[in-house]
Symmetry: C2
Subunit: 351 residues, 2 copies
DNA sequence: CTGAAAGCGCTAACAC
DNA sequence: GTGTTAGCGCTTTCAG
């Protein structure tokens, strides 16, 4: 950690009053109302006055006050986006999808982060709603009663994203994580693996990882296979955790022939570890992760994974909000299920 | 990409009018003003009425309207945070630092993303300032004239972060990327490397990477060394890019004995590539990256890197904003320089 | 095409 | 302790 070296200087703020419409009005000799019209490109204003106003506004450096505007117009062009984490590799993609769509509209995303903590979700949601956004996009389909109540009472479009295994407050876009787990389980069984180990995040925090695990065990059970060993982690560098957990698990249960990880990052750690050990992948041990993160493209072996449609989920969610705002009474799809694709890569099919 | 299966349902919104203070006032039989006081924990209110109000508010599900509150009180407890990217591995850390500090205050961070595009920075800044935030934290120390003008005119605390090689609008917290590059150059020269290759992002977009490069070449020049080859990329999976660029560069300039990468992710790609090729690291080729990302802990070799003090920068920036808000006239440090530490890892010192 | 009046929902400042 | 009055800076609405 760096220490700090300081250069002392007195810094005093010029006690400037922020400019108002009135200032522009006076500077341009045009009524406030007309100035407002020019600045919003609304109604008909003669070319002459328009230019006069624009020039005055620019010269003064006027920046409109959205607080006042929003209060007067009863419209706030913000969409609250509530997600568990930013350092996740998955939500930046969702955000990109959302931003891309909203860029063509008046709407702007504002993000809140919950760290997977329900209490924090409640708080963030409350703060968000108190700004009276036009819509909310929120990750996950399980929320506290209080959160659901707030969302319902808000009277604005609410899109729950990522997961569709449950009952949405309003509407939902995502994949079925249960189904995703099942697909992976089937693929593993079909490939002939029999001794499966599972590694993932501590479940209570992450409903989607839990559902994938449930889907996996269900599908394996049908093939007469039980998960032979499992381990959960929280916090820390995922890549390093993947290594550690893999080492520990193989130490404990040496006869495993397949390892399923709840995310690609720990899977990558596991892969690197096994490669170091000189293990033959996938003939000796097969591997799979989840998410389809771009990172994987640079790994020594193409890792089996499943794309979570993150980007598409972001786009669709933003489209939904924007559509519902444009046509509040239109009939829409309450639940939009996206279907992830399974990439076998080089670690799931024996050669 | 998943296609979508849809369940049609008519979803109509109950045409609810959002609740106001007046509703709570009527429901509790207490004046609006007193309700307001209770909800903000301000002034003296008797225990009896306080409870009555709270009960009514909770029963109705009242969520205060911050738009109106902000307009009336002329205070907006938001701090605008403007950064180039979220998918970067570096800014989430900065955000964490900021959030941690702001959590103990009334202030809340609101982020805007510029994608390293000056025009977008201007737009984001304009939008941000139109909400009249209490302060701004903005990445980088180079901004367009228009952006600087807006920041100066805003009359609020502005903290420029990450980089201190330049003249801040108001104050700055960061490291000297020039110095960081220089340190790395010295270390490389001292370790006895002589044929240096550089790989990084396209410079015009990333001032900090450019400054590190300048520092590097300067230090190497003093040791009589020139950068023997260099290559720049933009976009794509950084890990894969690191592989590709490394392959291409060694193909072109096979006698390189050291590779310096402008970020850890491409460095990691290069490392994996070289290891695949069976190259002896660091005796045949040495390596270094930049950032000190956690990811590195799981790599097969501990990569040489330099910590950019991201977390600490976030903390300090938030503290600065919060302090200046508390004591606007206090004399403060205009520039706070943090000092990155160089980790030699296992790729920079020959054995 | 332009302007005047009336609030949006809340809080500061002052009475009681 | 509690209530009253007047705005915050803008937009809506309606008149010219």
């Amino acid at each position: 950690m760096g220490q700090s070296k300081n250069r002392k200087h007195a810094v005093t703020q010029p006690p400037k009053r922020p400019l108002t419409l009135r200032d522009v009005s006076e500077a341009s000799g045009v009524s406030e109302m007309t100035v407002s019209r020019v600045l919003r490109n609304r109604g008909d204003v003669s070319q002459t006055t328009r230019e006069r106003v624009l020039r005055a506004a620019k010269r003064l450096g006027y920046v409109p006050n959205k607080i006042a505007g929003a209060l007067a117009s009863q419209r706030v062009n913000l969409v609250g986006v509530i997600i568990p984490s930013l350092s996740n590799m998955v939500f930046p993609d969702v955000m990109t999808g959302i931003s891309q769509v909203l860029e063509d509209t008046e709407l702007q995303p504002v993000v809140g982060v919950t760290d997977y903590i329900p209490e924090k979700e409640e708080k963030v949601l409350y703060e968000m709603l108190s700004w009276r956004p036009s819509g909310v996009i929120i990750a996950g389909i399980e929320h506290s009663d209080a959160s659901r109540a707030m969302l319902e009472a808000s009277g604005i479009p609410v899109v729950e994203i990522m997961d569709i295994d449950g009952q949405p407050v309003d509407c939902a876009v995502g994949i079925s994580h249960r189904r995703a787990g099942r697909m992976m389980g089937q693929a593993i069984a079909e490939a002939g693996f029999r001794r499966i180990g599972f590694m993932g995040t501590k479940m209570p925090l992450d409903h989607r990882a839990r559902k994938r695990f449930e889907g996996l065990t269900g599908a394996l059970a049908k093939a007469g296979i039980e998960v032979a060993d499992q381990e959960f982690y929280s916090g820390g560098s995922a890549l390093a955790k993947g290594r550690e957990m893999t080492a520990a698990m193989l130490d404990r249960t040496p006869d495993l022939d397949f390892l399923y990880y709840s995310n690609d990052m720990i899977a990558a750690g596991g892969l690197l570890y096994l490669l170091d050990k000189g293990i033959d992948i996938p003939n000796q041990i097969g591997l799979a992760g989840f998410n389809g993160v771009e990172l994987l493209n640079g790994l020594p072996r193409q890792l089996a994974t499943m794309d979570a449609c993150r980007f598409e989920i972001g786009r669709k969610a933003a489209e939904l909000v924007s559509q519902r705002l444009a046509a509040p009474d239109a009939s829409i799809d309450k639940v939009i299920e996206l279907f992830p694709t399974l990439s076998y890569g080089e670690t799931l099919r024996r050669t």
